[in-house]
């Protein structure tokens, strides 16, 4: 089963949620963030280069220009490798665990798997973020010594930050799977 729906994130940008149900025990939710726009890249590049040219105009040192090119290239590489998230996915496998992974625009992927025995619950939480109140989905982890207490919270979809209607959809499917086991 595969559905593709578009939602918006907390800033009003459109994101798409892709629900794949592999079986009754396992489903995967992928939130994709729009690709970086060419206009934005152009604006940043032009800013750096104009600034470099202005400095060059006064100092007449060509090293400024070459360093500007270098800075732009390295900055872009670092941005797509460490900052720009392409999609984030949540794989819920009943009785086995939850896998959270986010893949960056360069193809780098970071994955963490949380075993079911460590998970207490999945909830939607409220948080104050800058000047607004946002909702986010999070996994509550059990304290090993005391099963009733919550030791830590793992927030999900940290970089895409979808809105509540999207979160509710994911939350319902997750609870369905978790309650079965």
């Amino acid at each position: 089963m595969m559905e593709d729906e578009s939602f918006t994130d907390i800033n009003g940008k459109s994101i798409s949620l892709d629900c794949q149900s592999h079986s009754s025990l396992c489903s995967e939710f992928i939130v994709s963030v729009p690709k970086v726009s060419i206009g934005k890249v152009m604006v940043y590049t032009c800013c750096v280069w104009l600034l470099a040219y202005a400095v060059f105009f006064f100092t007449e040192n060509t090293a400024v220009l070459s360093s500007a090119i270098f800075i732009t290239l390295v900055g872009m590489m670092l941005h797509i490798h460490f900052v720009k998230v392409d999609h984030e996915s949540l794989l819920v496998i009943g009785s086995l665990g939850i896998q959270v992974s986010s893949s960056y625009a360069s193809g780098r992927e970071t994955t963490t798997f949380i075993e079911m025995s460590k998970i207490k619950d999945i909830v939607i939480n409220e948080a104050i973020y800058m000047h607004q109140i946002i909702y986010y989905l999070c996994v509550l982890l059990k304290e090993p010594s005391d099963p009733d207490a919550v030791s830590s919270v793992v927030p999900l979809f940290q970089s895409s930050k979808p809105r509540l209607n999207c979160l509710v959809k994911v939350y319902k499917s997750c609870q369905e799977i978790i309650s079965k086991c």
């Binding site: 089963m1 592999h22 079986s23 025990l25 794989l91 086995l96 896998q99 025995s117 460590k118 010594s145």
Partner: protein, 600 residues
């Protein structure tokens, strides 16, 4: 309930036979370790499993049957059913895979109290969905409540990998039992004796599992191990001689002990001795952590010596030593000249400031005389400098760290005059600051109560007030002159401290960086596992779950943090704010490392 079956990838195409593995009963999962092929005699299988159980300490059992029928092998259904009565188990798995379609069929037979075999479990037909690795997809008729999840794993990687964070020793009864994945990893790692049975062995049993392809190389390793024993004994004997020399009474006398605790070469020497003692101990490493520690020490020692040899090769190739020695005296002269000029400048009107002339002259002459003393000392030493450098350079064959420590000590000795200037300036400044602060209290009619550790009010006599105020004024007006000298020499001192700090940091880096763990992480990422990650192999709707378990390697930062060799920390003990406060009050700062603070 969900049944999880961990299935090794190497058994995907195995001939029909019996599944050998372990039930992790508390979590309702089964770890398949090997397939024993037909034909076999059940007694042999039972005996073999008992043997393996005794060797590995894992509760092995026959989990069920595996069939991949070739042509003309039909009607095995009843035979497979009968097998379950030969190997009585609570549950009996029957996994089928058909050659033409490469399909999977899984049946779970449950044995109830009466000893009757009840078949009440899923019957699944798995259509082949070849997903790269040659896995099979599943197709499930969802009428039963029990479901099966197949988790395919690579036996070799799971066997060799070490799950982090490391738990060793007896599990704590207070905390929860080890998690399912950890148990699974332990099971596969401990059942290594099972994997020694070779495919081509001529025995009563034949089995399929992961098996090593590099037995010949391990012979070389064994020979090397044998050869290392006398080497370890030799090192141990040398170490005992060295410790005996170090423990001679003359070395524990006060000035020598103090000196050796301050010289970084001595500290490095004791540090290396400790390492060598650890390495030369005849006992094998107990546990993963200690093994990694030993390996890290060996690799960093070898790299250290190699770098040291490189340095020696450069130093002694084109007589660089003589060049350095010839450069040193003019450099010292140059520094002295610069300092001379600096003092002359300070004795005039530095930066247009008007100093107290008398005090300025006294301080300036005092420091000038010191520089004169220093320079004549250097010139007296100059014939011996080349020899000292020549023999000192030889210490690099013990490792680059020794050469760097020696350089740090030499810098400390050669810049002793700067240290002296700094101490005089700081002491003078400190005295003034203390005098001013206590006189400022007198000025306000207060005093410091030593017993109660607080400021109390106090009524002074007129004479006391008069003298105090007079002294306060004198000190206040003399302060800028002292402060200026203090400032200049502190800056000089800071340059030296910074240089020595960089040297100490690089020595510490070479000593503590876990090179072996890092190499392992880069070349064989599965060896150090942070956890696992799963990939869904079957994409078709309504099919049973087939997951591929891959190993998630540890992050590089975590590798460094976990496996850093314990070392004497030489990082600044104070925070930046504390350092600035110390500088402002005029307390002395040192780059010396503190032997007592051992961090991990």
């Amino acid at each position: 309930m969900v049944l999880k079956i961990f299935f090794p990838q190497c058994c995907n195409r195995a001939d029909s036979g019996l599944l050998v593995g372990r039930w992790i009963s508390s979590q309702d999962s089964a770890v398949v370790l090997a397939v024993i092929h037909y034909p076999f005699i059940p007694g042999h299988v039972k005996q073999y499993i008992q043997q393996m159980q005794a060797k590995s300490g894992v509760e092995l059992s026959v989990l069920g049957s595996w069939s991949l029928p070739k042509d003309g092998q039909e009607g095995m259904e009843s035979f497979l059913r009968d097998l379950s009565t030969i190997f009585p188990q609570e549950r009996w798995l029957q996994i089928n895979r058909e050659v033409g379609k490469m399909g999977f069929t899984c049946q779970v037979l449950q044995r109830d109290q009466n000893g009757r075999v009840v078949q009440r479990e899923t019957k699944k037909k798995n259509e082949k969905v070849d997903e790269g690795a040659g896995e099979a997809g599943g197709d499930e008729e969802e009428q039963e409540e029990e479901k099966v999840i197949f988790v395919h794993y690579e036996q070799r990687k799971v066997m060799l990998s070490q799950l982090h964070p490391i738990e060793n020793g007896v599990p704590d009864p207070k905390t929860a039992p080890p998690s399912e994945l950890r148990q699974m990893f332990q099971t596969v790692a401990n059942s290594q004796p099972l994997f020694f049975l070779d495919r081509y062995d001529d025995g009563p049993l034949k089995s399929t599992h992961w098996q090593t392809e590099g037995r010949e190389a391990s012979i070389i390793v064994e020979l090397l191990k044998q050869a290392l024993i006398p080497l370890c004994m030799l090192i141990g004997w040398l170490l005992s001689v060295w410790t005996w020399v170090c423990n001679i009474r003359i070395f524990s006398l006060y000035p020598l002990r103090f000196l050796s605790s301050k010289l970084s070469t001595c500290i490095q020497l004791s540090y290396r001795t400790e390492h060598m003692r650890l390495l030369s101990s005849p006992k094998p490493a107990a546990g993963h952590m200690q093994f990694m520690r030993k390996a890290n020490i060996v690799v960093s020692f070898l790299v250290d010596v190699a770098l040291g040899m490189l340095l020696i090769w450069w130093l002694y190739r084109d007589n660089h030593i003589t060049m350095l020695a010839n450069m040193l005296v003019p450099a010292a002269d140059h520094v002295a000249k610069e300092l001379d000029e600096l003092l002359q400048w300070l004795m005039g009107a530095p930066a247009g400031l008007k100093m107290n002339r008398a005090l300025d002259q006294v301080l300036g002459r005092f420091f000038l005389y010191h520089i004169h003393l220093w320079i004549s000392y250097i010139h007296l030493m100059s014939p011996f400098i080349e020899g000292i450098l020549w023999y000192g350079g030889l210490s690099a064959c013990l490792g680059l760290t020794f050469a760097l420590s020696l350089l740090s000590d030499m810098v400390a000795l050669l810049t002793f005059h700067i240290y002296c200037f700094y101490v005089y300036g700081a002491r003078l400044y400190c005295l003034k600051i203390y005098g001013l602060s206590s006189l400022w209290r007198l000025f306000r009619g207060k005093k410091w109560n030593v017993l109660r550790q607080r400021v109390d009010s106090c009524s002074y006599d007129l004479d006391q007030l008069f003298i105090g105020t007079l002294l306060f004024t004198v000190l206040l007006f003399l302060l800028p002159t002292t402060a200026l000298y203090y400032l200049v020499f502190t800056l000089l001192r800071l340059v030296v401290v910074l240089f020595q700090g960089v040297l100490h940091l690089s020595v510490d880096f070479i000593n503590s960086f876990p090179l072996f763990a890092m190499g392992l992480r880069i070349t064989k990422p599965y060896r150090l596992a942070e956890g696992v990650k799963f990939r869904v192999l079957c994409e078709e709707p309504g099919t049973a779950l087939h997951l591929l378990m891959e190993i998630n390697p540890l992050k590089c930062s975590a590798v460094v943090q976990t496996y850093r060799t314990l070392t004497y920390s030489c990082y600044p003990k104070d925070s930046w704010a504390a350092l600035v406060k110390k500088l402002f009050v005029g307390e002395l700062i040192y780059p010396w490392r503190h032997k007592t603070t051992k961090t991990d």
